[in-house]
Amino acid sequence: MTISNVSIGAKDFVLAVEGLTVSFDGFKAVNDLSFYVDENEIRVIIGPNGAGKTTVLDLICGRTKATTGSIKFRGKELTKMKEHQIVHAGVGRKFQNPSIYEDLSVFENLEISYPRGRNVWGALTFKRDREVIEKVEEIAEMIFLKDLLGKEAGLLSHGQKQWLEIGMLLIQNPDLLMLDEPVAGMSVAERKQTAELLHRITKNRSVIVIEHDMQFVEDIADRVTVLHQGKVLSEGSMERVKTDPKVVEVYLGH
């Protein structure tokens, strides 16, 4: 069939990004980018500021439309789908700044993300039944917020807000989880807790993480992709990438 199918070959990738380019008024934030994410892999994307990391996530989740190229998630072409359809397909995304509903309680934040009653009629007739409550409590326990379910989300600490947003993704049970700087602004203790959390939640799903904290990257990454000026500079295990002279020059050397 198409070239992309040939290049995927025998192996089934969860996510196959090929020849992806996006140009903002001539500036190519992402330039002919290709990478592949395996089943149950934790992939970390690193790179200097302006390398196009967040833009790549925006492209995958449909927030930004690609100029050319293809993004295939389990064989589905994401570039032609709307944001909510991409979510329904099984892609979840956490934003860089904690993006939660501050006026609602922790419980309500999680409940809204529960994948049921997602159209107008469904939302009008949605019932808070045992299934929903149990799921919300289970997730809340995972993200260390079990005792704060009734609290207004705006009153949580920064780290707790980050966890809440991760929880909001977990309750959707996505096959591909994308996290943009999940430990930014966290204390050392919170970072450790988050790393544990990520280890637990990444079972049975693939994860793409953008992160600057090298210690954290070493803790969690299966493989690392280094972006520079919208292109892949280097890719492989953390060990390999760390010693790559190109990477040392543009990123790690600073």
């Binding site: 329904h88 309680s105 009653g117 019932k127 909001m168």
Partner: protein, 379 residues
Amino acid sequence: MSYHGFKSYLPQQDLLGFALLAILLLVIFPLSMDIFRLNLVGKYLTYAFVALGLVLCWGYGGILSLGQGVFFGLGGYCMAMFLKLEASNPEATKIQSTPGIPDFMDWNQLTELPFFWQPFHSLTFTLIAVIVVPSIFAYFIGVAMFKRRVGGVYFAIITQALAAILTILIIGQQGYTGGVNGITDLRTLKGWDIRSDEAKYILYFVNVAILFLCLFAAQYVRKSKLGRLLVAMREREDRVRFSGYDVSNFKIFVFCLGAAFSAIGGAMFTLQVGFMSPSFVGIVPSIEMVIFCAVGGRLSLLGAVYGTLLVNWAKTSFSESFPELWLLAMGGLFIAVVLAFPNGLAGLYQTWVAPRVDKWLANLKTPRPLTTNPLESRS
């Protein structure tokens, strides 16, 4: 730990509020006022329908429409067309050059009833049209705007422009619409004289009853997941979108619901006041309705009703003495509300009165202390 109690769509505080409003509107006002004043209150209450729609659209959904008069007007005009046709039977209009058509058409040299007036001979069609026509109009505006992600101040400006356009259209098409005078001289509804005192009493109570139906509908929406989604969208539209919701559909829904409420208000206005004119469609009435909502508290359904009553009462008493100052006072009031108490009267009530009422309710009810569900405290 139970979250089940939360499912209650009418918590105690709200129930008390609804009951107090019912007593005020159904007992205190009718007993203490003559029919002239009561009819005036009835007229004000028709604006409360609009304010109610704005609470959902603007307060909850963050969609500020400065053109709700359009829907109020469409509903009112639908009702007026029916009543006008009934008042223009061939017998009553036999001195016209074309008997059987509304008088203003005759003055404008029309010799036959325009096609879009024809179905308004039927009361059933009219009652359906009162709700459906404005809702469909709102639906098209909603699709055109929200699917393209037009929002915020741009949406407000466009709705305001629509209010201006519709006013100009109505005034310009005098032969079809009655022009700047509107549709006047409405007399009977299926032979029942709506101008009599008795009819005004009945219409007042019908109006209050329908207002309560709309209040309950709005309360249901507010307490459903859709209500929480509206709040979520107001705060983090992107997060809602990336939680798998098509945000525009929810905005379209709530905008149409607001339009339908407004239209019902418009129809009740026509019935109680006896005419409909473009002066209830344009920019000024549309903005006034936003002020009613803001003064009452844009997050409170009951606040919208009280705000409407209060501002209109002030308007009537104030403009009798200082007609030219009223608009300035209204503008000042709006600024004051936004700056000093952004959640309006309802906000003041929530801060100062509600905690005491809660305590009182708790003491009243329980031998054992009321276990307050942490989730419920936000309702």
